[in-house]
Subunit: 250 residues, 6 copies
């Protein structure tokens, strides 16, 4: 089920058979000369929706703006500060918990989000820890490229030039979903440089076209399709495993 | 243009011809027995994307979670606290301003958002006011039902039973966009009660199925289509007017 | 009773017969060439104290600084940021609730406060909504010019030139209360311009003497007295209605 | 001049001859069986307004709610959390600084405010310190009972039973200003106990009628008048000294 | 016991015999030409550890960064904003309270910390006061120079030139603990000036070498040893008294 | 140099030859039956001070309380919430930047800190990114076990039973520094279980004696000494490399 495309009685019914929900979370940020600004929120949304076609899972609306301060030197990037991002994530969790969701999996599409999402988890867990009570929910962060088998497939598809931003694998996923939006460019150099990530101006000076270590020209819709299919299957398994986890007994 | 489906060089090019952007903003919250949880963010997204088909406007990604604390008694609702919502809106504005956007119009789909959006505008304007400098951008909040002619059309379409939550007009808009998701229910009473809006438990006691003053059974995809068509045209006009506004001279 | 001019045992006794309190709330901001900076907090205070003379109501101390960032271009204006304003309002509510007040009515004197006051209400209601419990109190915002009959009287008194800031009706109320402070000026133009409200510098460029759409020269102490008398009576009715409201049964 | 009872052009004119303003600041909190809840904001307001009658000083509106969490066990007390109080004080300072005020003196009426006011000063000074720039304003906190000679007079008037909360000196000041509100009670014991100040329930257990170490029955309007007269004169001197302070040269 | 040098089972055992803990708290800030930057956190740490040698007390890790914004004009100073400092102190208290500590004494080494520490106490007490419940812990702030007898000894040792920052008494304490770090300088003038404390640039202009009213050349390790010995004994007494305090009965 | 044991003129002199500083950062939290509560802040402090003996580096005071909410079920743990931790880290950075430090390396001793430290870096970088200016400093996070060669040595020393909390390597480091504090226990099972990390009660139920996947009985002071010696050398190299990094040219 897609939560936003359901009614509240339908969610009430779902909660009788499952307490698990997956939240696609990403970012809206530059992805090099050819990547869509929405790449990082589109990828987990695409994968989660693909998974939903074949399994009784619940997909929350997509959390589409993340922590992308370093990309602000490129037009179109929209970023939350980490403190805002943490506050928003905790409000999403609080809301889902009110309804009785006990397993909340964030399917992430942006490396720059990881630290803040984990900080958000700790922020909301800390409320229970300081109050000496159970949280009532378990949280899990999974990057789509870390879903079972997906990293291996990407390395096989792109033995070199994968890099870490505007990667051919994420570009491929969006090409598969939106083939009409496939774009090309002359990448120079073909494989972008690597380096540390700091504030936006430093970033743009190091990575003039926005890519980090990647060659997006290697992406094809077909490769994207293979990644999505595998990721969708692995996501269902991940959710199954998470759903069947039991609370530890003291 | 749809910002998330564009590349950064495309946005850079857009900025040479326009400094205006529209942000669809809504909420994910219960909409009665038949309304989609996503109704309030879908409506402005649908209208903005329809407008974009016929005009050179830029549509930002949709801000899909708003201030819906009063709906938390119904499964599926996700809400930000006003303080979080304000922080997030100001980060969106800050990001867009970094790129040179000077006219930022929020096309809103949720009445419960209005106060917090206006508070957010004041929060970020206050930074400039305390610093004795120009803000560098102008902000505008427009509810889609307040776009020129739209309210009149809705009143004509639904002379009674329109109400203020889970209204037939918003339901109709989503029916037009997603006819396959049209749902039915026996509404009892046909027209829901009215009353004040307070915390979630009070809300659910007053409005047992979630509707306020409305009869969603009156909605049809056709009426929705008429609303969308008119709203899209009026949005383009609204953006034109906003874009051509000049800064006052002291 | 005036809360600040009472002792705690007197408030304790009052709470045995009523759980309702009215909080005058306004702003300290420029009101054009002749209006007092305190106009917006004085008006609700004047009206509430007038009402108190003839009814067993409890009037809290006046919340005298509000959200007036747009007026900061004019000397004497003092403003809270919306985030500060929200935090302060919630602390007032929390304090009153501790003592057992269950109906808290904010009698507002400043249009620019409305969004932030409503955001504050949602902020504190959200605590209960996230915790799945009753709030224990009901909140109401009433602008003094929206008290029963008051708007009609003002429109009758000032068929034109009323405007929306430094209005002849609010000036008249302060003239009635403080006739010795009545000031005059040559207004040019007699009726001030209208326009959008943004940051302070933009505001001063649009509204050079601070007025918006108004002609304060129309104010007289007599008209003010009529407004106060009516508003005071309507406030008592409003409080009676609010006090007798019953909690909805789920 | 009283700021709230002036117009913006009058403040503009004042700023040409002085950059100094005094802000009465207090609290609304229980003051024992006979003390007014407003005692702590009334005292500095009374003194500042008395001073203003004979000197060209500017008196800001009164900051009437302070840090009184420990008094919340007694009906009528309204308190800000320290964090809210700090935020509000810095917004007042920011606002006054925008207009060019360079010397801002807070005339305080509540011991419990001192720490938070000083923390607020450090909070706003820190902005300049981190930015390696001048603040542009100097801040001063003066408790009215520390004005030159006032403490000595109070000790002379009340050699015993003065105590530290609901003191006969502060009660006397309000009796002088509002003789019609003078109240009496059988104080038992005549002099209240002393002890540490912690949370509200602890406070009420230690100080059952709200007083700390004081015997308010010793207060008379005449003693209050003497205190006000002296305090008003000392305030003018204090403001003169503060106004003539020069910035140190590095 | 030194908490950081113990294991959790050892703390568990300690809690069976005592619910009291002392937290050394200070600052890392310039202390004139010869004083160590760590002086203000070293002094309470030295004293608490000395006390611990002869008594069954528990010494928490040292809170080593405080509120020192005014010293930021001198290299090496590290400061928290008051708001950050308050948040951190409340988290320490919350953590200690989780384990069952009921008496938490902060042994302070920096005058500039006092206001913020007290504000922090009020901030966390306010949570209980607003919730109408007991805090479950009592907090106490004691400056090491206010421990019984210590101030008298310092005045006797340094009848003049003690001053209030980079004082010979605090310098002496660090000299006693770290004689190898004793430094000398030509102080000119021998006794530093006094004056108000504001933002960092103002501070450095008033106090060019960082001292306030003091002559650190008077410090000797021997005098420091006498101060530490006395302070350590008085601290044990202070903790004994605090531990044996009983909750008041309502 | 040790910053806290230096004077401000000494730091001023240091800044003429280097703009680099290392901040040991850790946590005060349970480390199993035999590990010191201070283990995680002691390890980086020990290593940094060892490094300082042979190189001209500057070691800041130790940031000794981190993000340890999950350990709050064990007595003695003190934790900041992530939001507090982020605020404090940014204040440290702001302070060091005021003095001209341009390379700030945090030498971390606690895995649970990583997310929040990175979030803090993004939080402060975002200020520059939103303001379209250079940050003026570069930040680096290095866990001591990730210093060149250290992980390999630990794996060699402890081929099994290393685990991830209360590891024999960190215990060994503290044993080397404080051999008199070496403790023993019967670990049952010898190697602790693994599992996810959530709120404190869940944690204690999963990991009854506090260890995760480790066998601390394998630690010896000698192994600790080897780790410290290597880590200290690698830290100096790391600082050298960081110091010589040049800003990228746009």
């Amino acid at each position: 089920m897609l939560l936003s495309f359901s009614t509240w009685p339908e969610i009430e019914a779902y909660l009788k058979r499952s307490r698990t929900v997956v939240v696609p979370i990403g970012s809206n940020e530059q992805h090099g000369p050819t990547g869509l600004l929405g790449t990082d929120w589109l990828c987990p949304e695409i994968i989660a929706r693909e998974a939903e076609k074949n399994a009784d899972i619940l997909v929350a609306p997509t959390f589409n703006i993340g922590m992308a301060q370093h990309h602000l030197g490129f037009p179109g990037t929209i970023s939350l500060r980490p403190s805002t991002f943490v506050a928003a994530i905790t409000d999403w969790i609080r809301s889902l918990s009110v309804h009785g969701f006990e397993k909340i999996l964030f399917l992430n599409g942006h490396g720059g989000n990881i630290a803040s999402i984990e900080a958000a988890f700790s922020e909301i867990y800390a409320e229970s820890s300081f109050a000496r009570r159970d949280a009532g929910f378990a949280l899990k962060l999974v990057n789509w490229w870390d879903l079972e088998g997906v990293g291996d497939l990407a390395r096989e598809q792109f033995p070199e030039g994968h890099g870490s931003h505007a990667t051919p694998s994420e570009i491929a996923v969006t090409q598969w979903a939106f083939p009409e939006l496939k774009k090309t460019a002359d990448f120079s150099p073909p494989i972008a440089p690597n380096g540390p990530i700091r504030e936006a101006r430093d970033f743009r000076a190091r990575f003039p076209d926005g890519r980090i270590g990647s060659n997006p020209a290697l992406a094809t819709p077909e490769k994207g399709g293979a990644l999505v299919e595998l990721a969708a299957r692995s996501l269902v398994k991940e959710l199954d495993g998470f759903s069947s986890e039991r609370k530890p007994q003291a």
